[in-house]
């Protein structure tokens, strides 16, 4: 695994990371090793976030760098490695709420951390979540919402998942500015996240 690539990503040297990737590919480096470097770098970035060293700007930039590298490495991969996803997560903003930014950040971070993300969008009806769970068989479902109206929508979404007989197959996490332990209990979710990385942390914990 090319260490200098890991360092460039985790130290936020975007230009260097892209240049190193081009150089490695030109010299016939295994694209899977490049992808592995990205994962290793995201691990470091995640740890620094947990330690309070990195914040959202660094999470976002690291994600952007990894996306740029993936775009470069993809032609050399010939489809290999694309299936090597950690597991599936269905994610969306609940009924009555059209806020996308928190959900999009979590979706992006899950993606660059190796999860297969199925984003059902905003203002998503409970039935839309149920259908997505039936279609994609995720281990984790994420419900996002910024408004207080989301409390009831989260609750009814969890109830709909239960009514469809799918509750035992998924762990449900909720996130958004006004969620808390009180709201986790109210909605009947398994966990709540206070920041974007919490979504990744919970997914890793549940999917392994």
């Amino acid at each position: 695994m090319p260490d200098r690539l890991i360092t460039a990503i985790s130290e936020m040297n975007e230009d260097a990371a892209i240049a190193i990737t081009r150089d490695l590919l030109a010299h016939g480096e295994d694209p899977l090793a490049i992808v592995a470097s990205c994962s290793a770098a995201m691990e470091i970035v995640g740890k620094r976030f947990e330690a309070g060293e990195y914040f959202l700007p660094e999470l976002m930039l690291a994600g952007e760098i990894v996306k740029g590298i993936s775009d470069l490495a993809r032609p050399a991969l010939h489809g290999a490695g694309t299936a090597a996803r950690k597991g599936a997560v269905v994610l969306g903003t609940v009924k009555g709420d059209i806020h996308n930014i928190g959900k999009d950040i979590v979706s992006f971070l899950l993606d660059v951390n190796g999860f297969a993300v199925y984003d059902v969008g905003v203002d998503a009806d409970p039935a839309v979540f149920v259908k997505a769970i039936q279609d994609h068989k995720p281990a984790v479902v994420g419900l996002s919402g910024l408004l207080t109206v989301a409390y009831d929508s989260m609750k009814s979404t969890v109830q709909a998942i239960e009514a469809a007989g799918l509750r035992d197959q998924v762990k449900i996490m909720i996130g958004g500015a006004q969620v808390s332990e009180t709201i986790r209990q109210y909605a009947g979710a398994d966990a709540f996240g206070e920041d974007a990385m919490a979504g990744v942390r919970l997914a890793k914990q549940w999917i392994g």
């Binding site: 914040f55 709420d97 059209i98 930014i101 408004l147 109206v149 409390y151 500015a177």
Partner: protein
Amino acid sequence: MRERWLEPSPDADQKRAARLESWHAAAGVAFATDEAKQAYQERVSLMADAIEMKKVPARVAVCPSAGHFPLDYAGVTWREAMYDYDRLAHAWERYYDDFCPDSYVGPATVVPGRAMETVGFNLYKWAGHGLADHQEYQFVEQEYVKAEEYQDLIDDPTGFFLSTYFPRIFDNLQALEKMPILPPVHEMLMVPPALAPFAGKDVQAALQVLARAGEESVRWLQALGAVGARILGRGFPAGGGGVSKAPFDVIGDSLRGTRGVLLDMRRHPDELLEACDRIVPFMVKYGASSCRATGHLVVFMPLHKGADGFMSDQQFRTFYWPSLRKVIIGLIDEGLVPQLFAEGGYNQRLEVISDLPKGATVWWFDRTDMARAKQTVGRVACLTGNVPLDVLCAGTIDDVKQHCKRLIDTAGRDGGFILATGAAMQGSKPANVKAMIDFSREYGVYR
């Protein structure tokens, strides 16, 4: 260029004292009864004493952020409220009649739907315009301005907003992109080319759109003025009158978007900082002019992207705080009181934001540790907020009372505190709201 707004001007305290006095005097308020006038003035004193921090108020003022709770409570939908100003007024009056909080905050956030439709405002969706009748309006976040455009914004903020940004966010004002650059229009030979665009049918149509939207906005403002006058006359003083924002949020909320601005901190730090600095005087002037229009001294400033988790302490000190502090000092210089609404958590920021003159600001916290806030920024500023929305929406009356009691015992100790909700309280159970107000008014008496 001369650096401004680093320290408050020597006459700031005097100006603020004069404005506080005129708030209390209530000239121009038509009181329903003598008792109403007395109640009004007592309530102003409760708030003024908390803000000034010179003496302990008679009791804790109770000023929750109504948000659109009055609509829910009166059974008025968002669609009705944004299109029928009588229904809006009815909801607001009912809320004040039934709950009797200590300050009046008008329904200025329930904007006139027709005016928004006329200009084709596309930054938000609202009831009847992309959302169902009962839904509150919601922001549509996107990257409306590209990173490559920072220099244009820095060179000429007004010109950039007028002829680049507005055509993007107002569907029916596309023709504003033809507006001339203004500073060259000062020599005779430069006048005709600047006038020529106004001959265009599209520019004329845009001006007509503005005229119609302006008339609708005035109808709405008159309705708001009428409901305000009635409620003030019953003894509820206005809690605020002006509005402004942190320069970083101006860029981050509606121009670059969250993703854009966070990446700019890493990719385009110099342009971002310069743009924030260029926005400062506009935010000072806007805060002052909005207060002039209402005759009030409290300037509401919703803060967004400086909250815990968005950025590090160092990044906050570098990117968010310096330009915000200049706006705050600029407003204080005018004798105004910035009311900084720190939504989310501000636990990492408490030391930095304590660098302010005493008794000149209000910090309104949402989910910040209020005991720590009291020991830090609470030494120089009045604190408010923190009654949690999750408890108001999903908790019991006892939960609510316990929170209020704890808040008054910690943040309310020795004055400098106004009891309020952590954020706008839509979705709260009416019984919980009633309990919050009634309990706090009784328990919050200083003995």
